[in-house]
Symmetry: C2
Subunit: 246 residues, 2 copies
Amino acid sequence: MSNKKTVYVVGLGPGGQEFLTAQAQSALQKAQVLCGYTVYLDLVRPYYPDKETYTTGMTRELDRCRWALETAQSGKTVALVCSGDAGVYGMASPLLELAEDYPEVTVEVVPGLTAALSGGAVLGAPLAHDFCVISLSDRLTSWAVIEKRLAGVAAGDFCVALYNPSSKGRPDYLARAVKILLDNGKKPETVCGIVRNIGREGQTHRVLTLAELETTTVDMFTTVFIGNAETKKLCGRMVTPRGYRG
Amino acid sequence: MSNKKTVYVVGLGPGGQEFLTAQAQSALQKAQVLCGYTVYLDLVRPYYPDKETYTTGMTRELDRCRWALETAQSGKTVALVCSGDAGVYGMASPLLELAEDYPEVTVEVVPGLTAALSGGAVLGAPLAHDFCVISLSDRLTSWAVIEKRLAGVAAGDFCVALYNPSSKGRPDYLARAVKILLDNGKKPETVCGIVRNIGREGQTHRVLTLAELETTTVDMFTTVFIGNAETKKLCGRMVTPRGYRG
C-alpha cells in the first residue's frame, strides 16, 4: 500500500466527457474525494455518484486549495477539478503556492484542453501561428497591465484568444480591448471569431471582423479569437495560415 | 449509411495514449485510413494495427493534406494526425486552406494538448497568467517577425512558451531569443523552465533563470518556458501566481 498523499489538480477541458484525457479520467477514478467550484464539479459528479465531494463558490479558490491539501494530508487522495487546463488561469498555481506548507503532500498537475484549443477547433484553425492568451478580467490584474499587453500583441501582430471578455460589472471591456488593438496596429478588417458554450449544449460560433467585434455584445461564457494580418475566412471558418503555401 | 466524406484532423497531444482525449480516440477509431508524418503515425499505429496508413516525411505537409482530402473524396473516412494540438502549428490550417477545393469533404478539427499545456504541467504552473506561444523556427516565418514578437512579449511581461527552440541548422536561436527578451525588459533572474521529451520515455525537466537559459543548449525535442516578473520557483517547480494571495 502506498502512503503517498496526493492531490491531483485536473483540467476537465470544456466539460463534456469526450474532452477528458485518459490521464484525467484515471485521476478522477483514483481520487477518493472530488473537490472544486460547484459548476465544474457538477460536470463530473454524475460519472462518480458515490464519491465524496466538496464544493465552494466562485471566489473561494484558496479555501478550496487548503481543503484539498488538508484532506490529502489526512490520508485521502483528492482530485481538485478545474475547467479547461489545470494551469491556465486554473487552480494548479494557487495549489502549488499553498503546497509549500504541506511537504508530505504530492501535487500532480493533469493538463486539459483550455478554451483557446477547444474553441479554436470549433472555429477552424485561428491559432495556427504565434499567439497570446489574455484574460480581460481585472479582478486579479490591473486594467493598466491588460492594456499594455493588448497594445504589445497588436504591435507584434499575434493571434489572440481573449478569456473572460465580459461580465455583469464590465459589459464594455471587450469594446475597450478592441479599441486598444485597433489603436496599436490591428486592422478593422482583421478576421475574428467568437465561440459561446464551447463543447456544451447550445454551442454557437460566429466569424466576423474586428470592426464588427467592437460593437458585438458577448457574455462570460464566450471566448473571443482575433486573427493576425494573414488570417482568413474560408468556407465560414477562421483560418490562420502557417505559411506552407506562401 | 452516411455518405458524409470526412477528414478528422486529430491532435494527439505529446504522444502517449494517456494524453488522448476520448474525442480523439473516437476519431481514430472511426477513421478507415490514418495519415500523417511518419514519427507521429508511429505513435498511434500500434493501437490500430489493421488500419490502412499513409505517411510522408517532415516537409511534405501539403502533400499529406491533399492525399487526405482526395482519399476522403473517394469515400473513405480519414484521420490526419498531428502531435500536440491540431490547430497550434498543426495541420488543421493547411488542411482547411486546401479543403476549399473539396466542397463535398467535411473537415472536423479535434483538439489536443499542445506542449505549452503538457509541458507546463510537468513544470508546475508556468502559464497561469496571460501568456504567449512563439515558435523560433524561421522556416516559415522571418526572423525579423520573430524578433519583433519577442520584444513585444518582453515589454508586456507575458509568460512565454517557446516552441522549436533549436535545430541543427540554428543551434544559437535560443540564445538570440533570450538576448532579445533581456534587452526588452525581462530580468536575468526571471524564473524559466525547460522540458524535454514531454510525456515520453526519458522525459526530463529543469527550472533555471533566464540568465542561465541564455547559455543552455537545448534540442528540438525541448519546449522552453519563460516566466513573468512574478513567477517563482517553489519546491523545485515553476509557478506563476494568479494573484489570489496578493
